[in-house]
Symmetry: C2
Subunit: 193 residues, 2 copies
């Protein structure tokens, strides 16, 4: 049975080196923001800039590695049945909804769901890096303009990761309307040795 991340929430957990994490979109068109920390030293964490540099691509999928700010491999992507993820945009935050959505009321966000889930590991809001946004469909044009389009993931699509070091993982079911085509849904995950 998979673990369930209810809509607009998050979870954080340990993942041992060599263990596999399967992140599943159970209903389709849902995004999951993932951040990674070295379990032995939380100052080492997932880095978009290092990953795009070493993998020489904006689009990170099956066969790619996720790298840390200290230039170490944190995860390998063993399988990606959907094939589209984003590693450009920061997790949606209260300010995302205030500034980009012109929303003046409280709105759940991946940023809040990440830092509240990760608090038990001593991780604070300022420690949250740009996340690897699983299933997120950010299109870029030749002139650089970005658009957040509905995910292309279908019910049952998944990404399978293998930990390359002992990790603390933060994972969400995304709270942003643009990221999941306006409907909030859960994310499932499984851990295997």
């Amino acid at each position: 049975m998979p673990e369930i991340i209810e809509k607009q929430t998050g979870k954080a957990f340990r993942l041992k080196k060599g263990q596999k994490l399967k992140v599943i979109d159970p209903q389709g068109e849902q995004v999951s923001d993932m951040v990674l920390f070295n379990a032995e030293d939380k100052r080492e964490k997932i880095s978009s800039g290092k990953t795009l540099d070493f993998e020489e691509s904006i689009l990170i999928s099956q066969g790619n590695f996720l790298w840390s700010n200290r230039s170490n491999k944190m995860m390998e992507i063993l399988k990606d049945t959907n094939g589209r993820n984003d590693f450009l945009l920061a997790p949606c935050s209260p300010e995302t909804f205030r500034i980009m959505y012109k929303n003046t009321e409280y709105h759940p966000s991946c940023f809040e769901n990440l830092y509240t889930s990760l608090e038990k590991f001593g991780i604070e809001p300022d420690d949250i890096p740009t996340a690897f946004n699983i299933f997120m469909n950010v299109q870029f044009r030749p002139d650089g303009k970005l658009s957040v389009d509905p995910p292309m993931s279908k019910a049952g699509d998944y990404v399978l990761f293998e930990a390359k070091m002992d990790l603390i993982v933060g994972l969400t079911a995304c709270s942003a309307e643009d990221s999941n085509n306006g409907s909030f849904k859960p994310i499932h995950f499984e851990i295997a040795d």
Copy 2:
């Protein structure tokens, strides 16, 4: 007279809110990596993920703002005579040269030049975020593949920034062969009220 950052080195300095920083490529085809910290609280710093999100573009130039991890504006780009900068790739580091250039000997790097310059402000290597890479010409293809091409900047090209808060700025003359077409050159800068 401009301040001079000698080839393959870096400098760090304070910039007050409202002050302007002009970063000049004096000979052409040279890159300058820039990182920013809130002078009052160094845990607030420049964020590629937040900037690309709020500016809705990979390519950041005249008219755009540089944003922090706390969703505040750190700088505005008032003028950009070249028009091409990169905000995807992490500063070149010893591992960049070991892993990507297959270089087994010591090599100066923007990462080292940033953290050694910023040490006097209490900033440590792990605090260095993905830099705004002024004049860096990273081309992206529709399939996401990235290539680091020679800068398009010509002698005298500059980018003019205005600080939107009190800042600590780290700035380099880039040490990576791919970034500056194989020739290491200085970077100049000027600060004006």
